[in-house]
């Protein structure tokens, strides 16, 4: 049981680190602020444009 819990926590951590959770978090924030909501696809493309328009990888 403890092992299962540990694996679940690792999987949830990987979900956060990989960015799989980013859209859900954005939705929650956008609804709270009452701003217009992007679709998952729009958000994904927006996120990529933001990420790769500035230095995000080191030598």
């Amino acid at each position: 049981m403890a092992l299962l819990t540990f694996i679940q926590r690792i999987w949830r951590f990987l979900r956060e680190v990989s960015g799989d959770n980013d859209y859900a978090r954005y939705l929650a924030s956008a609804r709270e602020n009452g701003t217009a909501v992007m679709t998952a696809e729009q958000f994904y493309l927006w996120q990529l444009r933001q990420k790769y328009s500035r230095i995000n990888r080191c030598c």
Binding site: F13, S18, D20, T35, K51, Y52, S53, R57, C58, C59
Partner: protein, 690 residues
Amino acid sequence: MRRVAAVKPLTTIVWVFVALVGAVALGMIAFVRGEPVNAVWLVAAAACCYALGYRFYSRFVALRVLELNDQRATPAERLEDGRDYVLTNKWVVFGHHFAAIAGPGPLVGPILAAQFGYLPGTLWIVAGGLLGGCVQDFVTLFCSIRRNGKSLGQMAKEEISETAGWTALLAVLFIMIILIAVIALVVVNALKSSPWGLSTISMIIPIAMLLGIYLRYFRAGRVREASVIGFLLVLGAVIGGRYVAESPTFAHYFTYGGLSLAWIIIIYGFLTSVLPVWLLLAPRDYLATFIKLGTILLLAVGILLAHPQMLLPPLTRFTDGSGPIFAGKVFPFCFITIACGAISGFHSLIASGTTPKLIRKESQARMIGYGGMMMESFVGVMAMVAATVLQPGVYFAINSPAGVVGATAEKAAATISGWGFPVTAQSMSDLASRVGEITLFNRTGGAPSLAVGMAHIFSGTLGMGRLEAIWYHFAIMFEALFILTVLDAGTRVGRFMLQELLGHFWKPLGRTRWYPGVLITSAIIVAAWGYFLIQGVVDPLGGINSLWPLFGISNQLLATIALCVATTILIKMGKKRYAWVTLAPLAWLVAVTMTASCQKIWHPDPRIGFLAQASGLSAQLAAGTIPVAKVAETQHLIFNLRLDAAVTTIFASLVLVILAESGRNWWLHAFGRKTPVLREAPMVLSRLTA
């Protein structure tokens, strides 16, 4: 001031024990002669130093120097919008930050610096990291958090002067060009005459495009599953590469010399920077990050399980400056060859990028900024171990350019054996066969020798000797993959920066969605780094000898800029008594980089000084001793050497400008001649618990 809790006796005993173990381990690696030392001592020495550095020094910086304040809301809390400013768990931020800063630098630099023996490089990685790099990353991150995530350039402009800001921007653009050229050279040297390696990397392009389409049209944002699918496909490509290499029909299509491969990478770099980012760059980045982090973890476990002997001595004869891989003595060249594992200016750009906008509490900056760089430093230590497990003769045979040791296997083996590092052409041929390569001679740049070292460690663990070739090509794939990602991402960012600059002169060029502008500026950036790449490939002394020091100098000059900004902010905060925390590494870096710059420009030894080498070749041309067929090539080489000298001069000059501007500010603020104006975001009380 925060009250420090009373220290428990048990805690004291534990830390004294850690210090003792560290001291013994350092003594073992520094003083034992005549017999190989086990790598576990090196790892133990580094681990103890890191533990002590994090526990005591970073805590001192956090509590006394920066006075991190968890009562103060971070920009992620104040400006939370779910897009740019996002409250994020500290371990997730750590993961993101580490993935961003962990590049090829800490893997390549230590391998090259191992020509001096393992000791100078290791001591620099640990001491330079703890006292320099970790401090730079930590303080820059803190400064950016207090300024709503402003970039280094913006902070330089606001806290020092407008001139400093523009100078920093120009410096970053120049540094980017050299960085991309030198890492492209590392990839060229890793993949030349290697049908297995090149076929694997070639396969990753359609794999990444497949993932890109999957993520864009079918499962938007599902990075985990795409990464797992991609990883399995990449493994297939690594294993399948053997069949390509052994096929008389297909091997031919994947076997290229250095110059042809350089052109392939230039064309590839241009295409990936103008294609939509979702199609190739992003999915390849996810794959590369996934594989990179897994491989680093595997290497750490492998070293602990295999506990190999370090066959390279602590100091070699090449501390005298006559090294084959790059010329120059330990001071200053060991300290600029290893940049990213000890102190890297580029990290300050990452630390003032996305990371400050995700942090929940100021105190977490210690773990993320200081701790993240510490991990990177540890990666450098592991790379050093991977270099030292090779027989010294093998290490030098792989990393020495043909222009120094001789163009044939027999000549090279004889030269290297003459240095006191026995190796034979036959043993190198056997090793090449075992790892599935045509030859391992003249495979400079550090990547092949790292791959051989890693294959040795992995295959020595759990009896996987039969898989040595697979491990070797897996290691080559892992390095080439994330180097190419840095190359593409860097070209794209360079294009954005150039568009921002040129947009001031002609507005259409500044529009990032205007495709002709994208094509023109991408072509300029690719042409710039492509030029230096070709120059490095055709350099008879091995491009690493000229380009890697240029990269190291420029990277650490950027670190100088970051430390100038950090020192200025500390003085303005009223912390001038603690300014030594950033001033000490700054002073060291200025001494190292300015000495290295002067030597690379003016040293009379043609293997070190660009101008001396150019003059020597000019004299040979004038005397008519250069064969007619080589005259044009020699003239080109002379021009390139003078260009390298000019580029070094420009870097050094840009940094002297910022030093002068900063020094003026420090004088004025420290002695009350100017009222310090800190441009921090207003203090708002936090409503969150940690």
